[in-house]
Point group: C2
Chain length 283, copies 2
């Protein structure tokens, strides 16, 4: 099961939020004040850990750079924490109230908990199957190009630092989502499978449109990896592959994609749009 | 040797150019009025034929859709024809003058012939080696996604029509350029090599910036494949691979990239820019 705990967060005085603003919730978990059982996920250095703590949102946008302006007391901000493999005791830890943090004082309310059963994800796939796949990167996705390297060559090129991809391909997105999915279900030794999936997804996808923007992210003063925001719309005209891809992306729509999801990077949304256009023109 | 014949083309009366405007030169070659020895290249259906006939250019832009407006008599238009493997007799066919076409009457002047010796391309590579690779798609590049499919799987997926990629990857660009290069030098049975090159170029390239725009091209009323215009800037922090990539791209800077180069699609330019940014930030 994957869970998403939707929160309303209200500053109790005028304040400048930290960068990234997800630090507020991260602090509350690490200090044991809110859902302390998630601490092991927050501190885990696993690249594909099943955790997304979003940045705080205002007016439909996430605040990634808190230093940009003052947030007034009483402003309704929203965020969510998504995770999987939770102990049932965790849910008794979802208690709202007033909390002091190094960034200021907040009132927090848990609105609801959504969940998705990975064993029943097929039902969800069907909703998307006859439509284009339309992904919005709500916050910068930090994607590692080297996922596209054949596993047999990883050793040879281990000293070559190519950094993160500012221009994602369908294969790179899907390979990240697949790694995350496998981590959630506990599947191991998937490197070759992830590589083959990436190759197939690149070769058999039809990108219909996109508006992608490379960005330099500010995780901290010294860590500013490159990432990408925007949207991409594509189809995979091979149903067997499309079903697989949708399965992984639906999981990613809860847990995000790429690096630093634990502090709100790589939050994505899957929209569903009818397939349009005359396919016969794509010759 | 690859040659580029640079032309000035002046309409002798006000006219509407055809779409694409490269049809003017194509007509002159096919009708035997100008450089008739290129006819076999113009009519060749080889996807990687060594021929680029550009669209007509005005004010630094190519006219892909001639129906957009009237071109006045006396306007100086430019274009070039690039090709390889030419007989030396071809050059005696470069004769300017006044020519009648179904689109109107033109004065044509050959300004100069540039050439590049593929056996000496190393000298050119050195110019770009310590810089980012910056490619501009001057006219829409029509790139086939299926070049990214492992050759062993081509048969299995032959009925799946994914069309052309509106979102190019470094690997896809390089694989197209490699196929063209091999055709120029007469190298055969390169499918596996092209696939491996594409995989490596995707995995080991660092895209620094881009502004890519998917477009629907108008080759004719019934053929409107999707393509891409704009620019992409990347580096390959592995010199051996970068040298190979540059070799193929330099050839493509003469002959273009992707489909329909014989009518002016896929014209590209390689700019050279200093590598900037602190690489240590790309962790």
């Amino acid at each position: 099961m994957i869970y998403r705990v939707n929160l309303t967060i209200i500053p109790l005085h005028n304040m400048i939020l930290p960068t990234p603003s997800s630090k507020v919730i991260k602090y509350l978990i690490l200090s044991g004040k809110f859902m302390p059982s998630l601490r092991h996920l927050v501190t885990s250095r696993d690249k594909y850990k099943p955790l997304l703590i979003t940045n705080l949102g205002k007016d439909g946008k996430r605040i990634t750079n808190g230093e940009r302006g003052v947030i007034n007391a009483g402003t309704q901000l929203n965020a969510f924490i998504a995770f999987s493999n939770a102990k049932s005791s965790l849910f008794s830890e979802i208690r709202g109230g007033e909390f002091m943090t190094p960034y200021g004082e907040f009132y927090i309310r848990a609105n609801n908990v959504e969940s998705i059963d990975i064993d029943r994800i097929e039902q969800k796939i069907v909703e998307y199957l006859d439509k284009n796949i339309d992904i919005t990167f709500i916050t910068p996705a930090i994607l590692s190009s080297k996922l596209l390297l054949p596993p047999s060559m990883k050793e040879k090129f281990k000293d070559i630092n190519v950094g993160f991809s500012t221009l994602p391909s369908v294969g790179l997105i899907v390979a990240h989502a697949y790694n995350l999915y496998c981590n959630v279900i506990g599947k191991k030794e998937i490197e070759n499978k992830a590589f083959k999936l990436a190759v197939l997804a690149n070769a058999l996808s039809r990108v219909i449109g996109y508006n992608l923007i490379p960005v330099t992210t500010g995780i901290s003063k010294n860590r500013k990896p490159r990432g990408v925001i925007g949207w991409i719309k594509f189809d995979i005209p091979y149903e067997k592959l499309k079903r697989r891809v949708l399965k992984y992306l639906i999981v990613a729509s809860y847990l995000g994609i790429g690096r630093s999801r634990g502090i709100g990077f790589g939050e994505i949304k899957i929209n569903s749009n009818p397939i349009y256009g005359n396919r016969k023109t794509y010759k």
